[in-house]
Symmetry: C2
Subunit: 288 residues, 2 copies
Amino acid sequence: MLLGAIEAGGTKFVCATGAENGQVSDRISIPTTTPVETMTAVDDYFTTHPVDAIGIGSFGPIGVNPDDPKYGYITTTPKPGWGDFDFLGHLKSQFNIPLYWTTDVNEAAYGESMIGIAKDVPNSIYMTIGTGVGAGVISQNHIFNGRTHTELGHMRLNRLPGDDFKSNCPYHDICLEGLAAGPAVGKRTGKAGKDIPVDDPVWPIITDYIAQACVNLTVAFAPDKIILNGGVINQRQLFPMIREKFAAYLNGYEEVPPLDDYIVPAGLGNNSGIAGGLLLAQAALKNA
Amino acid sequence: MLLGAIEAGGTKFVCATGAENGQVSDRISIPTTTPVETMTAVDDYFTTHPVDAIGIGSFGPIGVNPDDPKYGYITTTPKPGWGDFDFLGHLKSQFNIPLYWTTDVNEAAYGESMIGIAKDVPNSIYMTIGTGVGAGVISQNHIFNGRTHTELGHMRLNRLPGDDFKSNCPYHDICLEGLAAGPAVGKRTGKAGKDIPVDDPVWPIITDYIAQACVNLTVAFAPDKIILNGGVINQRQLFPMIREKFAAYLNGYEEVPPLDDYIVPAGLGNNSGIAGGLLLAQAALKNA
């Protein structure tokens, strides 16, 4: 059995083939240009690399509820050409195999939950803090969705006294993404996150917002683990700062796992998504 | 078949009997004093009113995870005598019938979800804003728990500029409960919520925090409905204020149901909990 995975991001699509254990046997990267151009390359890949099922995680917002007329679509993205694109419908028209459709962060969360750092616990959250902020929630080993998928990058937090940075979110004067995602870090400092030394005064601000977000994830979902990934926190030295601020904010109100095991980097690095896609392909095959 | 329900609150316990449709046939109220005294009255009630199963919703925090050694316990409550009380174990020792054990707010959420205002949708949240703030989340018609139950009263929000009220939460400088629960409203105004006119300047503050909480519930759980109950919002006039602020904060970022159907008062009034308990008793009986 050969499985396929797509991790569809706003900058690039990764397509891969691999096995039931999430191990990748082949992969390519395709620039995200227009749906016609990008999807033609996707179709070509899986035509020349035939698989038994494909797991797809897409940038969003997307329709994830099978009852929704926009199920399988990328819906309201500002990305030119991709708004109201019937992604799943396109793939169905090309490949008569089981397909699993979810968000990019749900896909990555599933990968970490099944074979990554959260493989031993039933409830975990994968949050990426990069160009944007998104999170996937795994509840009792399943992807959590409500009426639609979560939009946890847009949770409100307490704006730090003295932080007069204008939110970078076009919708919200205050939200995690607007205050602490990569572009916000860039505008605050004039530099990319990876070039900012760990003792830069921007980090106490950014890690504070991330810590507040971890408090809100904790009281909302009571996960066993919160996995943080993405460009902004590629610097591992930020984790102790986040854990310390988290502990101060939670202030012993409820018991949580030891923080070194609770707020953690991804176990699969940049492979969380593709590994999750392969495992979701397997799930689709089982349910077919 | 006769079903039983317990709604165990910090001030009083309500015990009731009723039918599979959630209709109550008999009920009593018992003051919450010591575990021995209160539980003796509970035992007496269900001895004289025999039932086939009991659904229990308790004040917390409680152990809700069957793998937890403290499953069935009220755990760290400051309420004298009730810390580490094995509530479920006590009932099991008295009654050899199926029992369903959850939090008071999960019980109420379940009642509203099954026969109340959320009966037509699979995903809803019941949040009570009274002496404390708590919420129960229903996901795909089931009670949502993680490692433990939610503690949504303690989510962090943005402290309003100029609001220098000292949080009433002993743990958190900023949280929904500390800034907007009944005791906070009381300290802010010197009056009980029900005696404060709707044009009092405290309401724009309280409804703002509640609206922020609704935003965070929306981006976290994507529910079909948010049900607000409890002493602080017994005044129905507050709902339009909450909806208006919610709309301003969400700012069109994602589509939500029409707000009059989305942020709503409880459909069962003060019976959400007991109705939920009866329906959970029925669920326990089915799974037995």
